[in-house]
Symmetry: C2
Subunit: 227 residues, 2 copies
DNA sequence: TGTCAATTGTCAGTCGCTGTCACTAGCCTC
DNA sequence: GAGGCTAGTGACAGCGACTGACAATTGACA
């Protein structure tokens, strides 16, 4: 409202703002480093605060809880992915748009994350999340929330009312289910890389059709290992 | 080992056992009643313990945490459902077996639950879970765990290795995704009943196919409301 | 430079949860 | 059926996550 006719580039944020951002980044980085190195449960909020040399109270002013600090990186990823869905050309069918969005999302994930912590750390954090019950739970809940967001995006693309037509939510639920299986399998790999998730994603999505069909036996050729 | 050749019917459990069971049931019932009436967050463990007139310490000897007490009923349901899947005739295709299992599972849910708390309370508790972030998170994590269990059951039915063939996990993930959407929609209904979930389940499962297909527009007839 | 408001530290307190220890009460054997 | 064994419990102390309140500090802006 201050500068009506201007696409005003962000001026300088002011010292206060910069300081705040630095504190938050430092807290987040310290938290993730501690979580990755000694585990989530064995890291106290006091430790994190001490590592950045602020009071425990300050930590809670930046993060709603320990949990939020642990999932902050992932939140970036999710937002990035939702944007990717929005960016898909309108002519793509829903499932195809979702598929392309994840694939392109993983490509550009580097830039999103690297500004806060090294990607290396980001990937390690994923394992901490998967192996820590409370974090996994919180992770799944957030995933459920983004499913709702994405459902609305899809519905809008198709010109439908999410509450009248179940297909947007169903499609997204199915897609998310597959992505979770993919993600989980990916984390099991020894040296898991961004290239790995890419390949797995495509492969698993291609298997959804066969998985839904009736007769699995006849569809198999050698019944040997294929993973 | 005491009675080698006997399918020995459970003798009497002994006074100690009976007392234990009564304490647990009382705690569970009190917990659920309090959660439903005043909310999960606003109920302290001390309150629950006081309602049954035991020490707080005793509560934690029966339940790993407040959360476990809140989800204990649901655990019954899940176990019941897993059994229902196991009980399906082997000739049914995976998705069909899952579908029939839920439907038949809902039919017999009454007996499973009623022995602990009135079904009425059980249904209300579902809403508490859905509307309480930490509970919803824990709920989803448990759901993820049972997905793994069910995947193994399905794989076994089909004579496959879960780790070699992704289809069991994919099919279950897809199915679970649909069930979650169903469950969520069901809880939104004003007067939600067991009959309601039954109808919704069938309807949504039938919509999975259409939801996965490419062109949603052409498949629609009037684009009017259909929910 | 002085006022205003945002940020922070300190302190006290609640709640979930755990370890410890002594005590009571079923249970089992002789 | 008396005595010992052990499971179940209560009482207490303590930790860690989190919150509210208030005072002290510090950037912002006139």
């Amino acid at each position: 409202m201050r500068v009506p006719m201007d696409t005003a580039p962000p001026p300088r944020p002011g010292l206060r703002e910069r300081k705040k951002r630095r504190t938050r980044d430092a807290l987040l980085r310290a938290a993730v480093e501690l979580f990755v190195s000694q585990g989530y449960e064995h890291t106290t909020v006091d430790e994190i605060a001490a590592a950045v040399d602020v009071s425990q109270r300050t930590f809670f002013r930046y993060f709603a809880g320990k949990e939020e600090a642990a999932l902050a990186l992932e939140e970036l990823t999710v937002a990035h992915f939702v944007e990717a869905v929005r960016a898909r050309p309108p002519h793509e069918a829903p499932m195809e748009a979702l598929r392309q969005a994840v694939l392109s999302g993983w490509h550009s994930i580097n830039e999103v994350v690297e500004s806060v912590v090294p990607v290396e750390l980001y990937l390690r954090m994923y394992r901490v999340i998967e192996s820590t019950p409370v974090l996994l739970a919180a992770h799944l809940r957030r995933a459920a929330e983004s499913e709702e967001t994405i459902s609305r995006v899809i519905a809008e693309r198709e010109g439908l009312d999410v509450d009248a037509d179940p297909r947007p939510r169903l499609a997204v639920a199915v897609f998310s289910g597959v992505m979770r299986v993919t993600e989980r399998q990916w984390l099991l790999e020894e040296e898991f890389s961004l290239a790995g998730i890419h390949a797995l994603t495509s492969r698993y999505l291609d298997q959804v059709g066969p998985a839904l069909l009736g007769n699995w036996r006849t569809a198999r050729r050698t019944s040997g290992s294929e993973a």
